[in-house]
Amino acid sequence: MTTTSADPVTFEDALERYDPVMGMEVHVELNTASKMFCGCSTVFGADPNTQVCPVCLGLPGALPVVNARAIESAIKIGLALNCSIAPWCRFARKNYFYPDMPKNFQTSQYDEPIAYSGWTEIEVDGVSYRIEIERAHMEEDTGKSLHVGGATGRIHGASHSLVDYNRAGIPLIEIVTKPIEGTGAKSPEVARAYVAHLRELVLGLGVSDVRMEQGSMRCDVNLSLRPIGVTTLGTRSETKNVNSLRSVERAVRHEIGRHAAVLDGGNRIVQETRHWHEDTGVTTAGREKSDAEDYRYFPEPDLVPVAPSREWVEALRAQLPEPPSLRRARLQADWAFSDLEMRDVAGAGAMNLVAETVAAGAAPQAAKKWWLSELARYANEHDIAIDDVPMSPEQVAQVQGLLDAGRINDKLARQVFDGVLSGEGTPEEVVARRGLEVVSDDSALGDAVDRAIEANPDVAAKIAAGKHAAAGALIGAVMKEMRGRADAGRVRELILARLG
């Protein structure tokens, strides 16, 4: 059955009748120096097939040996997600044929994941959601195929493919949630917030650089709808190629609408894998997927069981950074922020950035102000994560420092931000190059004040008569003459000193 429908259903409309249930599968590429089962380098961007060996190329006779650091990273991720760590588990073979998989099986974990039954908490618009984690398990990445000859470089219509196995064998951790229910209209934001939160958690562990656009964090979104009030789950679709936080949110929103349109039309959802297109904002059908995809799993005979001792697990737990909730509470106290202020910072994903800015010398309120205004706006306009804005917390603190020292004012500060973000240099360099320093020479300022008084005798008279509020117009005139390079407060003082 096809899933097109004549009348698209709006998101709001769909939510009046349907209850979305989501499942998120996130793959994290670990930042180990060598691959999961061999000593080949994992450095990104090397020439094709220069980082392969008999093991990761799947040559006859080669055997895998587990990377100790990958196990550690897997356990840390599990602990950070409040999972139980298996006292004993094995790898399993997932058997299927595909040219980017050198052995035509993937060494993964099946019914014995290293971490399971965890949870994590996220917040969207002040509401907390507890996301149950089904499992986190270890597996190896595949090679990369270039599809040649087709129109879009994708697989359809390609005449042949070129395979590079540099990526084959790089360690992956797959994190799978239990069905996420009860998120209703907030489903898209919840999905996005979950992925953002997971990203932050993993980044904090130092086990991956989790860059979605580079593929070191990959997200598959599963979605199904059920009529409101029904408890059984609907048929789900899986959406791949969701390469940014924004895409996560948009894809969920789109799929909810699409499912609703299909169901409203009396048709059935096909259980399939779909491909998200960020440019057109839609998903297209891929392969039909059946739950009973026969991977013929069996325990990997070439690897022996992994049985992390409780001592080792506790030692790793001790190495974990402070859990985000505890950290957040501590920072809130340190910064004396209100709940609402903290929520805004967390919601913007700017907590670490604010913390680093404060560490670099800025006051918490000031740090928050800049990250949530100039920098958040820049990130949104350029559709990048706030961590990726081309300005560091140290630089933000420097700008605030210039403000605190009275060398620039607020308006000028915004110009400094603009300059740094445009790549013109450091804050000092931008101030110098653009001549943004406030004039602090009283005699120069005084001359400008005198000129303004002379030019506006009526206003001057009013001020002299005691209407100090009228000083605003004169301040404006002085600021205009100074091209903004003056401290408005000092100008006011000078005016009142002369007239008051």
């Binding site: 040559l59 006779g61 055997l63 013929r296 690897l303 022996v304």
Partner: protein, 503 residues
């Protein structure tokens, strides 16, 4: 000068160390022998004349220069074509790997090279080690030197025949269900399957990963022990390799003393289905051991009755997965399907595998795919893994009572070509006595026990010991070998007919 090819590896090693003979002479002698008889025997798939002689020269130079070398340096050896040899073709007896030259050495091969053993070449085998007769080789069968119309056993028929035909004093084989031991029995040679994990599997093209082991194929027990010590030991590249020293097998082989040892005769192996001559020679050996001061008792291992069934589920299952890598995308035979203009990768994979794999391999891959399928896993593969536990427990219980277990190695002597090709099950029965050891991971050894009266063909007796107690095998086997040699006035192989030499 003695015919160098009739010397045991130990004797040859002594002669080399004493500089009575050079490694080049020894190697050339064996190359000449291969040229003379392998046309009839067909033990070798590839002979590396240049490489072997180069190694021999290097060994001679080292000795001349006073550098210390391994005791076996300069003693030639053959390697089963299942082991990866850098720069030498490795076909695994299959068309799908015709002409494949690995870019790396198996760890076992690397150890041979470091020790300076000239590698004469790669020996023939049943395709991907699936078989008991070497009739399933894609390159034609190997012939038993005792009777060229008969099979040499399998899957390692090439290694055993090469050793039996004096083409090499040493060979390395692999054993998954008896592929070293059974050929040993039917060719009158010695074959050992070490404790699982005792010898590195890195570079052994996997058949059934949880069952495969590489091991020595030789004419004497001492030779096997010397080779075992060289190739055995921990390998960090093999996660299943045991990190403890190789058991003291050479010392045990020299000891050859069974006084006070408890020997267990396995009730379930050696009765019905075993050729009378096989049983007779077995009984003789048990009697000999008793006379030599050992205590022989019968033990029962009831789960062994299910060993064959478990094996023929576990092996095909693991093999179906291990052989999936042969898909024509990165190496090996690539064949396009007939009549398809622009074939897909999937189609090319299917056509190549169809063209490259033989019948037995296809049979086992299909069987394995079935046994692992969802819905069937529990009844088949899952159940077989449980039988494995039962077999291991039977061994444990038996070894509480006895030090070593014995049985005939194979139910029959060498059968004629074609005798069992039409009936896969009949072929599988050849492994009935050897399979339990692979399932439990315990070491096993076959040593010649004599000739069957009815056909005058060699028979072997199998010894089994607990995991890591490989030395017990060598001790008892050496004792048996010595006592029988005394009876026969020489080794059993001396009674083999002389092969026709091509001049």
């Amino acid at each position: 000068m003695t015919d160098l090819t009739r010397l045991t590896a130990a004797a040859l090693a002594d002669a080399l160390a004493a500089r009575e003979v050079s490694a080049v002479e020894a190697t050339q002698a064996h190359l000449d022998r291969i040229a003379a008889v392998d046309g009839g025997v067909h033990a070798f798939l590839h002979v590396d004349v240049d490489g072997a002689l180069a190694t021999a020269r290097a060994v001679d130079d080292a000795r001349a220069g006073g550098t210390a070398v391994h005791p076996l340096a300069g003693v030639p050896i053959a390697v089963k074509d299942l082991l990866a040899t850098n720069g030498l073709p490795t076909t695994c007896g299959s068309k799908i790997l015709q002409g494949w030259i690995p870019p790396y050495d198996a760890t076992v091969v690397a150890r041979l090279k470091v020790a300076g053993l000239p590698i004469l070449g790669k020996t023939n085998m049943d395709e991907f080690a699936m078989g008991s007769s070497t009739e399933h080789s894609a390159y034609g069968p190997t012939r038993n030197p005792w009777d060229l119309g008969r099979i040499p056993g399998g899957s390692g028929g090439g290694s055993a025949a090469a050793v039996a035909a004096y083409e090499t004093p040493l060979a390395v084989g692999t054993d998954t269900g008896g592929s070293i031991r059974q050929p040993g029995a039917v060719t009158g040679t010695v074959g050992v399957k070490p404790t699982y994990g005792g010898v590195s599997r890195y570079g052994l093209v996997a058949l059934a990963s949880s069952l495969d082991q590489a091991g020595p194929v030789t004419r004497t027990v001492l030779d096997a022990a010397l080779l075992h010590e060289l190739i055995g030991g921990h390998d960090p590249q093999d996660s299943t390799s045991i990190d403890s020293p190789v058991p003291a097998v050479v010392e045990a082989a020299r000891r050859a003393d069974v006084t006070g040892m408890r020997i267990g005769v396995i009730a379930e192996l050696g009765g019905e289905g075993y050729q009378p001559g096989v049983r007779a020679r077995f009984d003789d050996v048990v009697a000999l051991l008793s006379k030599a001061g050992a205590d022989a008792v019968e033990v029962s291992c009831p789960s062994f009755d299910y060993a064959l069934a478990a094996y023929y589920l576990i092996l095909p299952s693991e093999a179906s997965s291990n052989l999936a890598k042969f898909d024509a995308m990165r190496y090996g035979l690539r064949v396009a399907p007939d009549g398809v203009e622009v074939p897909s990768a999937e189609e090319v994979m299917s056509a190549s595998r169809a063209a490259g794999f033989g019948d037995e391999v296809k049979r086992r891959i299909i069987l394995g795919t079935y046994a692992l399928s969802s819905g069937y896993y529990d009844a088949y593969y899952g159940s077989a893994q449980k039988v494995r536990t039962l077999i291991a427990r039977d061994f444990d219980a038996a070894f509480e009572e006895v030090d070593v277990l014995v049985s005939p190695t194979a139910p029959t002597t060498a059968f004629r070509f074609g005798d069992k090709l039409d009936d896969p099950l009949a072929m599988y029965l050849n492994d009935i006595a050897t399979i339990p050891a692979n399932l439990a991971g315990v070491p096993g050894l076959s040593v010649p026990s004599g000739l069957a009266d009815e056909d005058g063909l060699p028979v072997g007796v199998q010894l089994l010991a607990p995991a890591l107690a490989d030395d017990r095998l060598y001790n008892v086997a050496a004792a048996i070998e010595a006592m029988l040699a005394e009876q026969w006035g020489g080794p059993l192989l001396a009674q083999a007919p002389e092969l026709e030499v091509r001049t």
